[in-house]
Amino acid sequence: MNEDNPMANTQHPTPKASRIAKAWHFLRTYSALLVVSATFLWSVVAILMSRQTQAPADAKVVLRIGHWQLEAGVREAFDRMAQEYRKLHPEVYIIQDAIPEGTYGQWMTTQLMGGTAPDMMEVGLGLPYNVLLGFHSRYFLPLTASVNQPNPYNRGTDLEGVPWRKTYKDGMRNSYVEELQEYMLVPLAQFGIRAFYNKDLLKKLTGLDEAPGNYREFLRACETIKSRKDDRGRPYTPIAGSAYHVGMWEGFMCEPLTYGAVRRVDFNRDGAVGNDELFVGFKTGRIGFDFPPFSAKFRMLRELTEQMQAGFTGLGRDEAVFLFAQQRAVFITTGTWDAGSLQEQARGVFEVGVMEFPMPTRDDPEFGGIVEGPVYERPSSQFPFAITRTCKHPEVALDFLQFVGSQPGNQELNRIIGWIPAIAGTSLSPLLRAFEPNLEGIYGAMPVTLGGETIIKWQQLTSLFQVHQIGYEQLANEFAPFYLEHGPREYEELQRNRRRGMARDEQFLAGFRARLMTGQGLEAQSLQVKYRQMTSSRLLVPGLGAALLQRKLNEGTVTNAVGPYEFTPAALARVRERLQSKEAN
């Protein structure tokens, strides 16, 4: 007798009803679990089936390649290169996973952690460097041995027999992960940034056939454009601007004007100004916002932003491109990655021209004394791919990357996309010739923020400056006291961060030391060299530069101090002596 259930003695359901009741009870109890399980099973089956349907039945080797390049031509180029590759290796089939930029970091992380990552992956977007570093060591294969061998697909070219890494225009500089002491990436293109213009609209509004290469003439053309109106009475915008684009104009035209600061505050004489050096310069009175190159940078920025549409800082990349494509603006700036898309949008409507950024010449009445030369561009290969450790055919993946990273393969890949090849000796389309990097010139030297508070303050003030709510004088007057007051604390925090980083370096070097303890022969020798170099550069030396800067800070404000690139009286006397003895001989 069931004492717990008084109804048990009075009701006797039929066996069928009892089974239904039990099933219903089971469903009610485990509904959530069942839904989750069913969804999981469905997703597994769906993924497997979709992956199978993408590859033909006769494909013996299927390789997947993941990237975030959704620009016009990239997917088509990979498909074409895969077809070409299949002509040589009929058993290999290559499938692309093209993922939007916004989700690439998350997608990459889940794919790698879940063990379902493509065989080759573009690396570099959406994740901080330290996370990428961890991913490199866990999920990707080192390529050092391969990049030191000649690329077989360069046979018959002038690069035959040359180690693969040396066939790159930049020597595969960005592919080397110093922390791992390994080459991890195969880059496939170079990028550059230039100004673009609507040739037809420029001609119609200004009568010019070509965009002016000179800053003053460029500004004059902009003023003419601004004064013209379309059929509906709307004025034209000279430069299509947005929050995305203004940084390019600033970086390529205004920031290099600050180059002169190198001679004032590059205390360690490495040819560049660090944010710690600039702060010490400000704090000791060696430099200030009245330094002519600094004010010149902001004057130029003001003149350029005056040519952009109202409210440009609140607009995104697409809005500016739209304005340009709609023929409402004449100039826009962007990189090679967008050049193909811009041309595509303009096809049959107007002709797109490419121009160098219009820098002031030495005879410019305002900037002539400040612009010391053209703007320097560091050549570097991008569009980098790594091979995942889960790849079932890493040798085939490497072979495919060698195919597209060879002189003919890379040229063809980039010809289809409309990008600049990364391999030496490749040819460029006429449009892209304007993108060849300028290897000699000036560069920016005004890293005026140190940490949290100064960054925020600077961003607030420069944003107001960009929308013309404050002028340079007000910007300087508000920022300088803030910088000098909050700077010391942030400078100290910079030093603390440097010291905190020691634990990471120590950790890395201990792992490295263990490797060299177990290494033998030449490998051990090479590891020892690397170990000593890294110990010296990461642990021994960094504190010394900081000590020299601290010394300058301790000395306090100085007047008439000899700059790092100025002659001491003693040195000048020695120059005179040497000259005299040379002439006497």
Binding site: G373, P379, G441, M502, T518, S526, T568, V575
Partner: protein
């Protein structure tokens, strides 16, 4: 709580949650199974599988290699597991046992998060006690000294404690790589204090080191520190000589594209130009930089300096001829 105790407790909790008591009769198992049903059993099995103790397999040397591999991948718990397993399997005091101890000590010292410096120090001392003259004892002494140099919350640790700890290594292993490394760390720590007298002492110590260790692989770093001392002490000629020796003794890894001599050329050229007033030497190094590293950022600056030196010389010449003509006029 250790791993075994934790596993037992997790297991007990799961058994209790599903209504099982091992002390009861078998029908209690049936009842419990009825209560949780198949999904519950599957889940419990999965949880238990996750808690199942890892089977340490392999020889000690394989486990040590695996431990270091896990360490480098940042899998510190797995590294600890491997080193502990190797320690248990290796004969006490043998090379594998020492290697495992050293690996375990390093992991506890440098793992982040979860470091345990006390435990690490104890293990390093164990290595030293077991084999005081072994290579690993030298590295353990250095690790103990480096622990004293580790900043706490970003603040510099006390200099004296660092100096003494490094001295322990130097005294015990003066010609071992760990001892030489300790010496350089000791001097670099002392140089972080911007003090002229201390810098003079360091310079003297470095010069003695170079004299006694003429073939040390750390020679380039030692000369680098000498150059730094000379910067502080304003000894430009000696600084240039030290920089030159540092560059000649520098070991270049041909496989590393980020490493080149352009920075060294640049430093030599600028010291020659601005501190020594030796334009011929400056020109030589600027030209080398331009010729060997044409894509380098400093090339433009180097060309500007070459031009500037010509102008300075020209200016001095015209000054001189002006003075001469004034003298002649005066006569």
């Amino acid at each position: 709580m250790n791993q075994d105790a934790m596993q037992t407790r997790v297991g007990e909790t799961i058994w209790r949650a599903v209504g099982l008591d091992r002390r009861r009769r078998p029908d209690s198992v049936r009842n419990a199974l009825k209560r949780v049903g198949l999904p519950g059993v599957l889940m419990a099995a999965l949880v238990l599988l996750g808690c199942a103790k890892h089977q340490e397999t392999g020889r000690p040397e394989t486990l040590i290699l695996s431990g270091w591999n896990n360490y480098r991948l940042g899998e510190f718990s797995l590294a600890t597991r491997d080193f502990e397993a190797a320690m248990k399997k290796a004969p006490q005091g043998g090379p594998e046992h020492l290697g495992a101890l050293y690996g375990l000590a390093t992991t506890w010292n440098l793992r982040r998060p979860g470091e345990d410096p006390d435990r690490a120090a104890q293990l390093f001392r164990q290595v030293i006690a077991l084999a005081p003259t072994n290579d690993l004892a030298a590295w353990s002494w250095l690790a103990l000294a480096r622990m004293k140099a580790m900043p706490v919350a970003g603040e510099s640790p006390e200099l004296n404690a660092q100096v003494l700890a490094y001295q322990d290594v130097i005294d015990r292993f003066p010609f071992h790589s760990a001892g030489e490394e300790a010496f350089l760390f000791q001097q670099a720590a002392r140089l972080e204090t911007p003090d002229v007298d201390l810098t003079r002492e360091v310079l003297a110590a470095l010069e003695r080191f170079i004299e006694i260790h003429p073939k040390s692989p750390w020679l380039s770093s030692a000369y680098g520190l000498v150059a730094h001392c000379c910067t502080v002490l304003n000894l430009p000629d000696k600084r240039f000589a030290a920089m030159l020796k540092a560059s000649k003794a520098a070991e270049i890894d041909p496989l590393n594209p980020l490493q080149d001599l352009s920075a060294i050329y640049w430093q030599l050229a600028t010291v020659a130009e601005f501190d020594l007033g030796d334009f011929a030497l400056a020109r030589e190094y600027y030209r080398r930089l331009i010729a060997e590293y044409p894509k380098e950022q400093r090339v433009f600056l180097a060309k500007q300096e070459l031009k500037r030196m010509d102008e300075v010389e020209e200016g001095l010449r015209s000054q001189k001829s002006e003075v001469r003509s004034q003298d002649e006029k005066g006569k």
